[in-house]
């Protein structure tokens, strides 16, 4: 027998033997898996952010295949991605609203009074457990960055003790909404440009004592732009359900007396351009 023949025979023989054994075991330990789940998982963003309320993308994929959730429940996927999933499964995409988070507070260190000297852990949840946090306003952003540390997309920046969301990075997964102890972050339609940067339901005078940029509930915006705003207690809110959302021109026209009604860009610009807060100015 030549070396060549031997080599070919040995390799072929062993390969065949292994193939048979593996084939046998594959049959024995067969796992029935739904190919559709893998397909949907592939089509999902794979960030495992949990914004849909499921444990991760593959868990969500399972729920989509089983019909528990429509594909549009994934807050991160774009409309195209959702349609692709729906097409692949031959189901209805469900109504899709791309969302973005917005921190409804404009009270940074300069704007809002701080009533106490806080000397504890720099974390919003920890701080809110100590006398409700040092901030004068019991509803505003504490600015210690719990949301920024948790954001899987790095979309939140703390500027002058205020969390600010960079809209272009935000995918609307809602992680920040869940961790914020003050519930100051809200998910709003992605196309909304204008927001009321105040979260306090307190009365106007009480708010004014602690903050320079509160919503006083003056209803100027409600009167000027019919249907685009609602007043909830002593605070105006953008009516995100309205067919027409307020625009930058509306903000110009209304001219909010305290300046808490702003476009997202304007808000970001103001915060970014404020002079750096320095220690010693406090109290």
């Amino acid at each position: 027998m030549g070396t060549l023949t031997a080599a070919v025979m040995v390799m072929a023989g062993i390969g065949l033997a292994l193939g048979v054994v593996i084939g046998f075991f594959a049959k024995l330990f067969q796992v029935k898996s739904d190919a559709r789940v893998e397909l949907v998982t592939e089509l999902l963003p794979g960030a495992n952010c949990g914004g849909c309320g499921k444990a991760g993308c593959s868990d969500f994929a399972k729920s989509v295949v089983s019909g528990e959730n429509p594909p549009s429940k994934c807050p991160v996927s774009s409309k195209e991605q959702v349609t692709a999933i729906a097409l692949a499964l031959g189901i209805d995409a469900g109504e899709s609203f791309a969302k973005k988070a917005v921190v409804c507070c404009g009270g940074d260190r300069e704007q809002t009074l701080r009533l106490a000297n806080y000397n504890g852990v720099l974390d919003c949840v920890s701080a809110s457990l100590v006398a409700g946090g040092p901030k004068g306003c019991a509803y505003g952003c504490l600015g210690m960055g719990t949301c920024a540390r948790k954001c899987p997309f790095g979309a939140i920046e703390i500027i002058n003790g205020l969390a600010v969301i960079h809209k272009e990075l935000c995918v609307g997964c809602g992680t920040c909404v869940a961790v914020c102890p003050r519930n100051v972050i809200k998910l709003v339609p992605a196309e909304a440009e204008v927001h009321v940067y105040c979260n306090s339901p307190a009365k106007g005078p009480a708010k004014k004592q602690v903050c320079r940029v509160p919503c006083l509930g003056c209803r100027k915006c409600v009167r000027a732009a019919e249907g685009k705003f609602t007043v909830n207690g002593f605070r105006a809110e953008v009516n995100y359900q309205a067919p027409e959302l307020p625009t930058a021109e509306d903000v110009q026209k209304i001219g909010c007396p305290t300046g808490c009604l702003l476009t997202a860009e304007e808000h970001l610009r103001i915060e970014m351009n404020e002079p750096e807060w320095s220690a010693g100015k406090d109290e």
């Binding site: 106490a116 000297n117 000397n119 852990v121 949840v125 457990l129 006398a131 409700g132 019991a138 307190a202």
Partner: protein, 439 residues
């Protein structure tokens, strides 16, 4: 020190306990104010529902908010006058709370009292109902409705009533003065509670630094069949689980309640209020509060109506001698630092403490050096340093595994930590996060 006095494992003894500032001064009666703001959600559990409307005239002791459900407590008017409405006041926990505002008419005229009961002979159910009607809550700090505590489920066999007169918190002397001045009320209240619970063994634990209180109690204790147990001066001797262990040697299982060890623990203040409610038919509308601190001109104890603003109390105590650095409701270890002097006295306010700026220093914390002092100091036998590290890494699962939920938040670990680590705050955060996740 007497080696035979009972105690528990762990804990600390703050070198300067500040008790001498106020423990020699008799309880003083507060003058009548023109306005009281009674916080509605005083108790643990569901807040009661207001039953008076703005503009209504109320008499002293009249019901102004009725318990909403079983774990809830009635609220009564501290004085006679007119209800102006429901207002928002700063709460002791730092978040604004709702309060019923009463404009006093100056007469302080008492309304109809509940009928006095002969507690030795009357029906137990009647006694229990009275406790509920009088709006009694735990006055040691927890504000847990007393009638709930006195109604243990039948499957838990309770055979011991422990009265908590340890008052281990530094600075506070309210319970001390109460025991010295009204020992009979305390003992009688204890005896009534025991009758409601159907237990015969009653202990009252008092730290041995309150010798006059122990003497005063001992003078009458035999009449009621109560044993006064002197305890070592050690913080947190007055914590339920530690007190039960020190006195009876029983251990409350992790995550359990005192009744799981066959005990019910009651604060001496609650017992005295209970005696008042049963014997004289007076609901809980005032309590003894320690007003103290190095910066208070005349520290002492005051009998205050609930709803009294703290700022007025400080004025009565002669004001401050220098600008205070910190206002705390409760004791320095477990009390709550306040942002505003507008907070009001509630049923569970045991002290108003004003610390000077030099004491209320701010520390920077540094990494754990693994010295183990917190481990030695923890009265619950936890490992606070490891828990703190787990929380800093946001590993709440690990913290839960290591029994962070058993933490009392007594602050012994943070007190002894040479690195000034904010351990209590870490524990609190872990507990909050774990509770949130369970929901």
């Amino acid at each position: 020190m007497n080696k035979n006095v009972k105690t528990f494992h762990g804990g600390i003894h703050p070198a300067c306990d500040g008790k001498s500032l106020s423990n020699g001064v008799s309880v003083q009666r507060a003058p009548l104010l023109d306005k009281y703001r009674v916080v509605i959600s005083e108790n643990v559990g569901k807040p009661p529902k207001p039953v008076v409307e703005a503009g209504a005239c109320v008499k002293k002791y009249q019901l102004i908010a009725a318990a909403d459900g079983f774990v809830s407590a009635n609220l009564h008017a501290p004085t006679s006058g007119r209800v102006t409405g429901i207002v928002e006041v700063p709460g002791a926990m730092g978040v604004p709370v709702q309060a019923i505002e009463i404009e006093a008419d100056g007469a302080d005229e008492a309304g109809e009292l509940l009928p006095a009961l002969d507690w030795r002979n009357c029906d137990v159910a009647l006694l229990r109902k009275r406790v509920e009607e009088a709006g009694l809550v735990g006055m040691g700090g927890a504000a847990f409705p007393t009638h709930v505590k006195l109604s243990p489920p039948p499957e838990k066999k309770v055979d011991v009533l422990v009265l908590n007169g340890a008052e281990c918190e530094p600075y506070l002397t309210a319970d001390h003065r109460l025991m010295v001045e009204q020992p009979e009320a305390v003992l009688e209240g204890a005896a009534i509670s025991a009758r409601i619970l159907g237990v015969t063994k009653i202990y009252i634990g008092v730290e041995i630094n309150k010798a006059d209180a122990i003497d005063a109690l001992n003078a009458h204790a035999a009449e009621f069949g109560i044993e006064v147990v002197p305890l070592k001066v050690q913080y947190p001797q007055g914590s339920e689980k530690q007190l039960i262990f020190a006195i009876t040697g029983r251990k409350v299982p992790a995550g359990g309640l005192p009744m799981d060890a066959g005990c019910v623990v009651q604060n001496v203040g609650t017992a005295a209020a209970l005696a008042d409610a049963v014997i004289r038919g007076i609901p809980l509308v005032e309590r003894i509060v320690t007003v103290t601190g190095e910066v208070v001109a005349h520290p002492g104890n005051w009998l205050l109506k609930i709803g009294t603003p703290v700022i007025r109390v400080v004025e009565w105590a002669g004001g401050v001698t220098e600008e205070p650095g910190k206002l705390i409701l409760g004791g320095p270890m477990m009390g709550f630092a306040q942002k505003s002097f507008d907070v009001t006295v509630t049923k569970n306010t045991s002290g108003i403490l004003l610390l000077p700026r030099t004491v209320a220093v701010t520390y920077g914390s540094s990494p754990c050096i693994r010295c183990g002092r917190c481990v030695a100091g923890c009265p619950m036998n936890l490992v606070p340093c490891a828990l703190g590290n787990a929380v800093e890494a946001e590993r709440f699962d690990l913290a839960a595994q290591n029994h962070v939920m058993d933490c009392l938040e007594c602050g012994s670990c943070a007190y002894v930590c040479p690195a000034h680590r904010p351990l209590v705050q870490h524990m609190r955060r872990a507990k909050a996060e774990i509770r949130k996740r369970k929901k």
